[in-house]
């Protein structure tokens, strides 16, 4: 995959302070094409496909909303809390805006946790971007496998 001008623009938008104060890259200094390529390979290694993962994340985000801002147990498997803040965030790839809804999901069997938001699901589904290493919202393929049990 090449770092096209659109990718370069997106990488710029992912820096701290552009869209979110913390940015989307964490400590990762790599080009986003390298991050995406490596994560796509790891998704394949863990036998995960993007549609199934994103559908599951959306399911948890929606079920977590029933807790009205508190943690709630979902399907006896996950402890989930969905929080919504005021406003929207644009996608760094500049293809839409998303409400600021975050979701924390803990697998009760292994205590592994993921943190994601509506924009994380979009980044994963449309761009296969899991965020950089060190980003609090990074959806590492191994964590996805262990937390989501798929």
């Amino acid at each position: 995959m090449k770092m096209t001008p659109a990718f370069k623009k997106a990488q710029g938008n992912m820096a701290p302070g552009v869209i979110t104060a913390g940015g989307f890259l964490g400590d990762d200094k790599r080009d986003i094409k390298d991050i995406i390529t490596e994560d796509e390979e790891r998704m394949e290694y863990f036998s995960l496909d993007y549609e199934t993962v994103c559908d599951k994340l959306e399911y948890l985000l929606e079920k977590g909303g029933k807790g009205l801002g508190e943690f709630t147990t979902v399907d006896d498997t996950w402890l989930v809390r969905t929080l919504e803040a005021r406003g929207h965030l644009p996608c760094p790839f500049e293809d839409g805006i998303h409400r600021k809804i975050t979701c924390e999901a803990v697998n009760l069997k292994n205590n592994r946790k993921i943190l994601f938001s509506t924009i994380s699901i979009h980044l994963l589904r449309e761009h296969h971007f899991h965020e950089g290493k060190g980003s609090e919202f990074r959806l590492d393929p191994e964590s996805l496998k262990k937390v989501l049990e798929i």
């Binding site: 009205l68 709630t72 919202f137």
Partner: protein, 371 residues
């Protein structure tokens, strides 16, 4: 040999001349000079250096519009009506605007550049908003993920109605390079004019909440901007049905304390507070004590998933289910009732629907949706 040295010098020289030329052109083209901002038909007039965004230019002159994101264009809070033609609505503004707002040329002040004289309208109440320099007097751990900040603003004073909020200014820290702001309801009563008290719940990934929970210490200097908001107690005799969870406790703590201090105890007040387990519940003793002293105040805490170790004998289930039960069986519908809500949009929507299903009209439901 000479060519080897001279060629880079020539290239560098040309580059330097071009850079200087661009710089001069930029100064000429982007120099808007001094421009005038006329506010509310001349109630206030500012003369500012043109070219900056309206939100910052106003703040630089001590006029603070609400902003939950600190000017990043992601919260949609810093709206004002612009009476001058400043060009079409930007794509970054449209998601936040209703049709009615577009019709009167409402704009996001953080997104528009002031390049010529403009006239704007803002609520008069915003003239009272101040930036306050304070010192963190006390930080208390209220639960495992909620801290209470008690900020002294020294000789300064803050005049507000119970229920209003302030914006906490978060300085750069760690990987966070820029200053940002977040809104928090005040939990202190209006009588405590030299302090601002807020409840901050740790939100994973949250810039302000992480700063408060991991960086901020007693004795640190902080900046708050406020007061903002129109969430407050209505001056009626209607029964107040108040509902909150988590840090949504804050405005209600302020409202109840204010009512008690001012002996406004002639109306029924029901306070429903939801948490998941005992470790998420707080201020139980204080609120039960208030219940003993104030016969028309009724506190209904509920746990949605109590644990055995909680030894919980109170209500269980989601706060909406508990609310529905009380509205059906325990709260008289013979007198007028008003709903007061503080929580996230999901909680607000769910509670609004329970209240309306039980005969409380939408226009009598008041809410603050960014606890």
């Amino acid at each position: 040999m000479n060519v080897i040295f001279v060629a880079p010098l020539i290239v560098s020289g040309i580059a330097a001349v071009l850079a200087a030329l661009i710089s001069i052109l930029d100064m000429i083209v982007n120099n808007y000079g001094i421009v005038k901002i006329v506010i509310n038909k001349g109630k206030k007039e500012l003369e500012v250096k043109g070219g900056g965004n309206l939100l910052q230019l106003l703040a630089g002159n001590d006029i603070f519009l609400p902003s939950a994101c600190g000017g990043r264009g992601s919260c949609g809070a810093c709206k004002c009506v612009v009476k001058t033609d400043i060009g079409p609505l930007l794509p970054t503004e449209t998601p936040y605007m209703t049709k009615d707002e577009i019709d009167v040329n409402t704009r996001l002040s953080c997104q528009i550049k002031v390049k010529k004289d403009i006239e704007i309208e803002i609520p008069d109440v915003l003239f009272n908003v101040k930036q306050l320099e304070g010192v963190v007097e006390k930080i208390s751990d209220i639960t495992h993920d909620i801290k209470e900040l008690y900020i002294s603003i020294g000789e300064e004073t803050i005049e507000f109605e119970a229920g209003m909020y302030v914006q906490l200014v978060v300085p750069p820290y760690g990987k966070i390079k820029g200053e940002t702001q977040r809104a928090y309801s005040m939990s202190s009563p209006p009588s405590d004019k030299n302090h601002v008290e807020i409840l901050v719940r740790l939100v994973p990934g949250g810039i302000a909440t992480t700063w408060v929970h991991t960086e901020l210490k007693e004795g640190d200097k902080v900046k708050v901007i406020g007061p903002f908001g129109d969430f407050h107690r209505m001056e009626t005799d209607a029964t107040m049905i108040c509902i909150a969870g988590g840090s949504g406790m804050a405005p209600f703590k302020s409202i109840f304390k204010d009512m008690y201090e001012r002996k406004i105890n002639n109306r029924e007040v029901w306070y429903f507070f939801g948490a998941r387990t005992g470790k998420d519940m707080f201020f139980l003793d204080e609120l039960r004590e208030l219940e003993k002293k104030w016969d028309k105040f009724h506190f209904v805490p509920a746990l949605s998933e109590p644990e055995e170790s909680d030894n919980w004998s109170g209500e269980t289930g989601l706060i909406t289910a508990v609310l529905h039960k009380y509205l059906k069986d325990k709260i008289s519908s013979d007198t007028d009732r008003e709903g007061y809500l503080c929580g996230g949009p999901g909680m607000i929507a769910a509670c609004k629907s329970v209240l309306t299903d039980n005969g409380i009209p939408l226009e009598k439901i008041y809410f603050d949706n960014f606890a």
